[in-house]
Symmetry: C2
Subunit: 300 residues, 2 copies
C-alpha cells in the first residue's frame, strides 16, 4: 500500500446531501454553506443538479445559485447533468465542469432517469460532445457500481462497459459510486485496481456512502488500489431519493480527519471545516455527533 | 494488498467488554453469553481477567467462571494475567492460554498496573517462565501501542522494545492494541509492516477500538500489512477503565460481516452471532443499532 502525499476531496454535500433532505434550503443559505466550505479550504464542490425541478425540488434553484456563487479563483464548481435538457440549462451558467451520471444496473437507471442504460449512453454522448465544444470538463459517475438496491450484485462487466463508454466520451475522471453503501473493501480494492491497470492515465474517484459503517474502510482499500480522489459530504448529509435504504455520504469531516492523521494533504483546515458542520446542524435542525477527537478540536 | 483466505477472530467481549460496564453480570449470564458465542462458531475467547477483584469487580468470578466453562474441543479460552499473583490464580484453573499485557507508555502502564514498564517486564518475565513450565501458551498484548490518553504520541521505539522483550519471553502472538481508539490506517499499516518484516515467523494481532469510527478502516490497513488476527467484542462492548475517553472495541458482528463480504473466512455464522448481540442487548438493557445489512439478515 502506497500512501499518497495528497488527495483531492470533492464536496458533494450541496448536491448529494441536499437532494435527499426534506428541509429545502433557500438559495442564500446554500450560498452561505458553500462559502463556509470554501473558507475551510474545500476547492472542489458539486454545488447543484440540473435534474428536473419537479423531481428534485431541493435543487430547483440551480441557475440562481450558480449566478450568485462567488467566482473565487482555484475553486472548481460542478453540477450534475442528467440529460441534454439539463445540459442546456447548465450552459446558461458559468460552470466550467459538469458531472454526468448513469447507473450500472438497468433497474436503478430506469428508476433514476427513466431510461435504459443504452438510451442514457446515447443521450450522454450528445451531452459530452456539446460540453467538449463549449470547453466544459466532464466527470462521469457510475451509480450503484458496487451493488444495486433492486438487483443486488452488479456485474463487473456492466461497470467496465459503461466506464469504457464514458471514457470514449472524453470524461476526464470516472467516479465509481457506491450509491447505497453496499461496497466492501475487497471489492473496492479489486475493482479500482483493475480499472487503474486498464486505464493507466485516467483519474478514478471513489464515492462512498456510510450506510453499513464501511465507508472509511473502503477509502483505505481504494487508497491501497491507488485512488486519490474522494467524494464526501459535509456532516454526512446525503443519500439518493431513488435508492431505498441509502444513507449519507461519508462525512467530509471524518474523511479529512482520517487523512490528516495519515499525513495525507487535503488542503482543508479541519478546525474551520467544523464550522460548516455547525452550520449544517443549524440549517437542518439536527444534531451531528462528532467523533471524540473532532470534539476536542472543536472545544480547543 | 493481499486478501487472506481466513482470519482468526479473538472475541474479547467477556473480558474487555464486561470490565468497563457498570452492570455486573452474574456468572451464569456470562456462561450463557460465552455459550451463545461458541454456538455461532466463535473459537477464540478471552473470557475473563485475573486482575485484582477490587480493581475490576466485574470479573471477580474468574475462577468460578472458568471452572464452569464448557470444555468444548477446538475452543481456545484465554484470560488476562497482570502479574505473578494473577498467574497463580490462573494456574488453579484449566486454562491452556493466558494473555499478559503491558503498556507502551509509562503513564498508562502506571495507571493500569501501578508499575513502571521495566518493573512490569521483570514481572511478566517470571510469569512467562512459569507459564512455559506449565505448558501454558502466552499471548503478549501491548496496550496504547498507537497513542496514549496521557502522553499522546507513543514512540515506536517503545513498542518495538516491549515487543522484543515479549517475544524473548516466548509469547506466541503479539497483540498491538489501540486501547483508546487513536490509531489511523497509515500508522497501523506502517507499524505492522515493520513488525512483520522484523519478525517474519511470528503472529501479530490487531486490537482496535472504534472511538473515532476508524476501527474497520484500521482493520483493512492491518490486512494490507499482512495481519490476519483481530480482537473484537460482541455488540461493540468494551473500553478501558484506566483509559479516559475509551469506547468499545470494534464490534464482532461488524467485523464478521465485513469479512464475509470480503470472502474472508472467520468460521463464524453471522446469523447465529446476531443472537449473541440480542443477548448483550438484554443483559445490559441497551439498544444496539445494527447496520442495515445486518438488520436485514436478522429479519429474514
Amino acid at each position: 500500500m502506497e500512501i499518497p502525499k495528497a488527495v483531492k476531496i470533492v464536496e458533494v454535500g450541496p448536491r448529494d446531501g441536499l437532494q435527499n433532505e426534506t428541509i429545502i434550503l433557500n438559495t442564500n443559505d446554500k450560498l452561505r454553506l458553500v462559502s463556509s466550505l470554501i473558507d475551510s479550504g474545500v476547492s472542489n464542490i458539486e454545488v447543484t443538479s440540473f435534474v428536473h425541478p419537479k423531481l428534485v425540488p431541493q435543487l430547483a434553484d440551480a441557475e440562481i445559485l450558480l449566478k450568485n456563487i462567488l467566482c473565487i479563483k482555484g475553486i472548481n464548481y460542478s453540477a450534475l447533468v442528467p440529460n441534454l435538457k439539463g445540459f442546456e440549462r447548465a450552459l446558461n451558467t458559468n460552470l466550467g465542469e459538469i458531472t454526468v451520471f448513469i447507473s450500472a444496473s438497468e433497474s436503478h437507471n430506469r428508476n433514476n432517469v427513466n431510461r435504459s442504460i443504452s438510451e442514457s449512453l446515447e443521450n450522454l454522448k450528445a451531452v459530452c460532445k456539446k460540453a467538449k465544444e463549449s470547453r466544459i470538463k466532464v466527470r462521469g459517475e457510475i451509480s450503484v457500481s458496487f451493488g444495486c438496491p433492486f438487483e443486488g450484485k452488479v456485474p463487473l462487466k456492466s461497470v467496465i462497459t459503461i466506464a469504457k463508454n464514458l471514457i470514449e466520451m472524453s470524461c476526464y475522471e470516472i467516479v465509481l459510486a457506491d450509491t447505497i453503501g453496499l461496497a466492501n473493501p475487497e471489492q473496492v480494492y479489486s475493482i479500482f485496481k483493475l480499472f487503474k491497470e486498464k486505464w493507466k492515465n485516467l483519474s478514478f474517484a471513489a464515492h462512498f456512502h456510510d450506510t453499513n459503517k464501511m465507508a472509511l474502510a473502503n477509502v483505505v482499500a481504494a487508497i491501497a488500489a491507488g485512488v486519490s480522489v474522494f467524494d464526501s459530504s459535509i456532516g454526512g448529509l446525503g443519500g439518493c431519493p431513488f435508492a431505498p435504504g441509502a444513507t449519507g455520504n461519508v462525512a467530509t469531516e471524518n474523511l479529512v480527519y482520517m487523512m490528516d492523521k495519515m499525513n495525507i494533504d487535503t488542503g482543508i483546515d479541519i478546525r474551520k471545516l467544523l464550522k460548516s458542520v455547525k452550520m449544517v446542524e443549524k440549517l437542518f435542525k439536527r444534531n451531528i455527533e462528532l467523533i471524540p477527537e473532532l470534539k476536542k478540536i472543536e472545544e480547543s
